[in-house]
């Protein structure tokens, strides 16, 4: 828990700051199964995210994408290798990180306003200031007037907006997104992607974005990393040279360059997807 935090990492109320680069070197993570066997989730992952870069990780199911994120956030300790954020080796919870998950991960017992306020309140901001800030963020994500609702009273897209506001309110140096739009319907997903890009252009944190959806990865990211099936490691890295700002995500999908890149990356990914499928099929048989 917090005792693993490195000494001197006192938390100032303002944890935000300029975007931090992420450097992952030879990262390996093994888990102990309940039977006592070791299971290697990721092996020798090496990967660099420049400060302010939007990096997407794509890979078959169960290839350790989420495990990689957990190491970056400092929630878990690597078995081998290292992660540095902004030039400092991660040891304990990394400062200035926000997480967004596939499940809403909102507090169902807190109102929308209180959900967004959690970040600043935890970093020690006085309640009054936090309220003003949270109201401002709700306005930015188009939810002014919904402060007093509970999450269950909102639609899926609105809940995502709340989660986005809650993740960005602390102005994180790094935004970790674990299939954040995976559970949304296609139309809502496109709207959310466009809004995410707009907010990201404003704040420019470094982003590590996990997804299964190759189209999503290419449309949003500067860099797409393909991971192999379990145990996961980096297979290929593609730089996406689509111009910024990208504007409406729906429209990019029809551009020639998008289709070209998407085709190339799919070639690399398909092999891994097929292999992962064969693995699970073999286990099931």
């Amino acid at each position: 828990m917090s005792d693993t935090r490195s000494p001197g990492a006192g938390r100032a109320p303002d944890v935000g700051g300029p975007a931090a680069g992420i450097e992952i070197v030879g990262l390996t993570k093994r888990f102990l199964t309940p039977k006592g066997d070791t299971f290697t989730a990721i092996r020798d992952v090496t990967l660099t995210v420049e400060p302010g870069q939007f990096c997407a990780i794509v890979g078959p199911t169960g290839c350790g994408k989420s495990t990689t994120l957990a190491q970056v956030s400092g929630l878990e300790k690597p078995s081998a290798g290292s992660v540095s954020v902004g030039g400092r080796i991660v040891d304990g919870i990394t400062q200035g990180v926000s997480y967004m998950f596939q499940a809403d991960s909102l507090f169902p017992w807190k109102t929308v306003l209180n959900n967004v306020m959690v970040g600043p309140v935890l970093t020690g901001m006085p309640k009054k200031e936090a309220t003003v800030l949270a109201l401002d963020w709700l306005r930015r994500v188009g939810l002014a007037g919904f402060e007093d609702r509970y999450p269950h009273q909102l639609s899926g897209g609105m809940r995502k907006r709340v989660a986005m506001a809650a993740a960005l309110i602390n102005r994180p140096r790094i935004l970790l997104m674990d299939e954040p739009f995976g559970a949304l319907d296609v139309q809502t997903k496109a709207i959310m992607q466009t809004e995410l890009l707009q907010l990201w252009e404003e704040l420019r944190p470094s982003v590590l974005f996990i997804t299964h959806d190759l189209d999503e990865a290419v449309a949003l990211a500067d860099r797409v990393v393909i991971m192999t099936s379990s145990p996961g490691t980096v297979k290929n890295v593609f730089d996406i040279d689509l111009p910024r700002p990208r504007g409406d995500v729906q429209q990019i999908r029809h551009e020639g360059r998008f289709l070209e890149l998407q085709g190339q990356i799919w070639e690399s990914l398909r092999e891994e997807v097929d292999r992962a499928y064969a693995q699970t099929a073999a286990v099931a048989a």
Binding site: S73, A103, S105, L122, T123, Q153
Partner: protein, 320 residues
């Protein structure tokens, strides 16, 4: 709301009000087309509301008719069987005699002072036991639920203690603490503890791990994690356990009083048992039941207040 609403209010729509043509027209049938028979006639919003209210009132009335009928059958049957001598009222009591006994308890009192005095003693024991047991159960449950090592060390012992017939502890407590209140409070608290503990433990285990990761990444200390995530999340489970826990508190207090006391409803019960007076035992049961219902109601109010963030369950909106 189509077929069903039509059925509810078809009495209100006579043949003199033909279906409106804007519906029928949009579907391409003429207004007098026989196929219109299968389509609900359009009704005004007010008519629908009124029909809904009527249906609901009718439902409520029938439920109450059923409830009162059931009580009449059971109590009347009991009265009849004992009055006819098919069942011996000396051993099994009789509703009318239970009533007489209740009146006697409240007007004349008992051998140990007025009934209010005795009830107050039992209520105090139950409430104190409930409070102590709930608090201890919550703390232990949340602690063990969030600390894996502690849970693994204590797990077997808790299972063992849970397997003991804890009512027997009442005898030990009375030997140790005498005939006064502490022994009763303790027995009630022990019974309550386990009901609350297991729910609190499970509640903590069911907390969404993503929520915990989320606040930890934001820099929450272990205490803040508990305050913002673990405790509110486990509250759903804990509150659910309070209903059964309160029943246990009453049982604990009463049983301890039956085992040995100087005051209390349990003492009146054991005294009545000794003098072959089932009617007074039943009368005491009625008194305790009324008290429990009131407490149950208060717990429900608390539940509503604390868990108002929860979405309404589907069953709360009935289909018509």
């Amino acid at each position: 709301m189509t077929a069903a609403t039509h059925r509810i209010s078809d009495a209100g729509i006579s043949s003199s009000t033909p279906p409106r043509t804007d519906i029928t027209g949009s579907l391409g049938y003429a207004a007098d087309d026989p196929r219109n028979f299968f389509r609900p006639a359009e009704q005004s919003e007010a008519e629908l509301q009124a029909a809904g209210r009527r249906a609901r009132r009718r439902h409520t009335i029938w439920v109450w008719v059923g409830r009162i009928g059931l009580a009449v059958v059971v109590l009347g049957g009991w009265q009849l069987f004992t009055a006819m001598g098919w069942v011996d009222k000396f051993f099994f009591g009789q509703p009318s005699a239970v009533w007489d006994s209740l009146v006697h308890l409240f007007t004349v009192g008992t051998a140990f002072g007025s009934i209010w005095e005795n009830l107050w003693v039992t209520v105090q024991e139950a409430l104190l036991g409930f409070a102590v047991g709930t608090l201890a159960g919550m703390i232990a449950g949340i602690l063990l639920g969030s600390n894996r090592y502690l849970a693994e060390v204590c797990g077997p012992y808790i299972k063992i203690i849970n397997a003991i017939p804890r009512i027997v502890l009442g005898s030990i407590f009375i030997v140790a603490f005498g005939l006064g209140m502490p022994a009763k409070v303790l027995l009630a608290a022990v019974l309550v503890f386990f009901a609350v503990f297991f729910n609190a433990f499970q509640g903590v285990r069911e907390v969404d791990p993503n929520l915990i990761s989320n606040v930890r990444v934001l820099g929450a200390s272990p205490l803040q994690v508990a305050r913002h995530v673990t405790i509110p999340s486990a509250m759903t489970w804990i509150i659910a356990s309070l209903h059964t826990a309160f029943g246990f508190a009453i049982i604990g207090a009463l049983v301890a009083e039956v085992l040995g006391a100087q005051r209390g409803i349990g003492l009146i019960i054991s005294q009545a048992q000794g003098s072959f007076d089932p009617n007074t035992v039943f009368a005491c049961m009625v008194i305790i039941a009324v008290f429990t219902l009131v407490a149950e109601y208060l717990i429900s109010l608390l539940e509503k207040r604390v868990l108002r963030w929860r979405p309404p369950t589907r069953s709360e909106a009935s289909s018509i």
